[in-house]
Symmetry: C2
Subunit: 321 residues, 2 copies
């Protein structure tokens, strides 16, 4: 089978491609070709099958048509502009997150091959005046343009699946931590950097109090869940193909204690506590009390402990010291 | 102020225009111009202000730009292809219901005038595996392309309102009965025709049993609610600007008894009972247990009795005998 990853240069896209290459099979079939697509060509890696890395702009239907041919069996639709970007530049969010998703689905429809489409939605689809805990069937009331565009993607994914044009499944991702790489400017950036930078001997700033609670998943488990999600039989998905991906709720104190438990007390001393009211305002508006009943029932999993998140970062991502 | 009705040739669009013309004011201001827009030019009527009737195809951004100028204060976005049409011809639903709504909102954004946009959504946004009763914050899980496209319209309306690009408000309409005019081929058509045709001395077919329960609103109350909805202060709408429009649940037996109570026993004798399994299958899948808490609190109203629905039809719509 042929697998296409849209958004293959992102943290999850890269790890997903490599994990699938090591695994070699999907949905009971041998993977015999993979295409990595992103706005910039993704870094290739060793694979037991032909691997192609191409540039693709999903906001452009012609570009989408070039990468999605009738031979593609499984499409991972991970490409998106992030929350802060979509809030700052509405057109980018509309063109890429909303219309890009639409173009991918329309291309599948045109081909009449009904490929499996695995869509990365986000817990940002939830928000506003809805009660805790957040369950799969909580009203989607996003309070950001990013969340709005992801919720629209879910609706289209469901309708195109109901009509038999694709076999879609969507997963609302928790905040991914520990993310590898450089610090970014997302409001959630500190939730990785207060661990990643100290683990690499560098200082980091924590802009919230140690009681701040949030809902996390490691990159490794996220990739495992996307693969499990690809293999769920269509008939088990029911009348709504989108669901919360499992994560776990931890306080800042708990994630730092987990780091200390794994590597000792020195890294935590590199965290500087500097209140940043604007970041605090944004992130304390986010929901953290999620009950991912459907995905847990279908076999997806959260991390066992935040110590695991720390170990996975060290095993999978820590730069050579 | 200047009012634009998109979808002005439809049953609700026509009545809304005429009611506003008789009323003469909206949101505390005198109406001094009105544009009736539809794919076919709507029939003009007497009005105390200049009335323009124009053809507009909302699926075409250039056509939308021609009717929405910076002088438009209130836009009624009623234009849509109906449920059965959107299910049969997916492109029409996508182009008109989804992209048409998007083009209208994008045009408002371009003008930077933040007009009031009153959007007719539908109870078809609800469906699938969600529990009764249906409340405003029930998960939107549409099981039709029409419902999907209306739910997408709601999300866009909310996000554009949150960003201050429009002042949007959306209302999920119940099934409108008694609809004037000719029988149509919608699955819900009999819910008007079993009353309208007998009231006009003609036979009609009822394809479901007399226990069939559904959620109804008269055209007159629907128009009154749209006008009230236009006048709700933005700050009272909260973080979700879309809500169920009030209606009431009646069985077929109750609506026929209401007709008999108003006009005597003869019309009911013109109803032929012929089971139509395909129509029964569709309409018994529809939800009818709605609790429109938000709109009731904001002053919108259901009909007092179905006898009122019958009287409104006779007063407002019955052809000259």
């Amino acid at each position: 089978m042929k697998v296409l990853i849209l958004g293959a240069a992102g943290v999850i896209g890269q790890k997903l491609g490599q994990t699938l290459a090591q695994r070699g099979h999907l949905r009971g079939e041998t993977i015999d070709a993979m295409v990595l697509a992103d706005v910039v060509a993704a870094k290739p890696f060793d694979a037991p099958f032909p691997l192609e890395s191409v540039a693709c702009d999903i906001s452009n239907p012609a570009s989408v048509a070039q990468v999605i041919g009738a031979d593609v069996d499984v499409i991972y639709l991970l490409a998106a502009v992030v929350s802060s970007h979509a809030e700052e530049v509405l057109d980018d969010g509309l063109n890429i997150n909303m219309m890009g998703t639409f173009h991918v689905l329309q291309r599948c429809r045109e081909l009449e091959t009904a490929p499996v489409v695995v869509f990365s939605s986000s817990n940002a689809v939830y928000g506003g005046e809805v009660p805790d805990p957040i369950i799969d069937e909580t009203f989607l009331n996003p309070q950001t343009s990013y969340g709005t565009q992801k919720a629209i993607g879910e609706l289209l994914l469901n309708d195109f699946s109901r009509r038999g044009l694709i076999d879609g499944r969507g997963f609302r991702l928790p905040t991914i931590s520990v993310r590898p790489g450089k610090p970014n400017r997302a409001a959630s950036g500190f939730m990785s950097s207060i661990l990643r930078e100290p683990l690499n001997g560098q200082e980091a700033i924590c802009p919230v109090s140690e009681e701040f609670s949030h809902y996390y998943l490691s990159p490794r488990k996220c990739v495992e869940n996307l693969i499990k999600g690809t293999e769920i039989p269509a008939e088990d998905l029911g009348e709504n193909r989108c669901m919360i991906m499992p994560g776990k709720q931890w306080t800042i104190r708990q994630v730092i204690d987990a780091m200390t438990a794994v590597v000792g007390p020195e890294p935590a001393k590199l965290i500087k506590w500097e209140s940043q009211p604007e970041i605090e305002r944004i992130v304390t508006g986010w929901r953290f009390d999620f009950q991912p009943q459907k995905s847990l029932k279908l076999g997806l999993e959260a991390d066992n402990s935040f110590e695991d998140n720390i170990r996975y970062y060290i095993e999978d991502d820590q730069p050579f010291a």
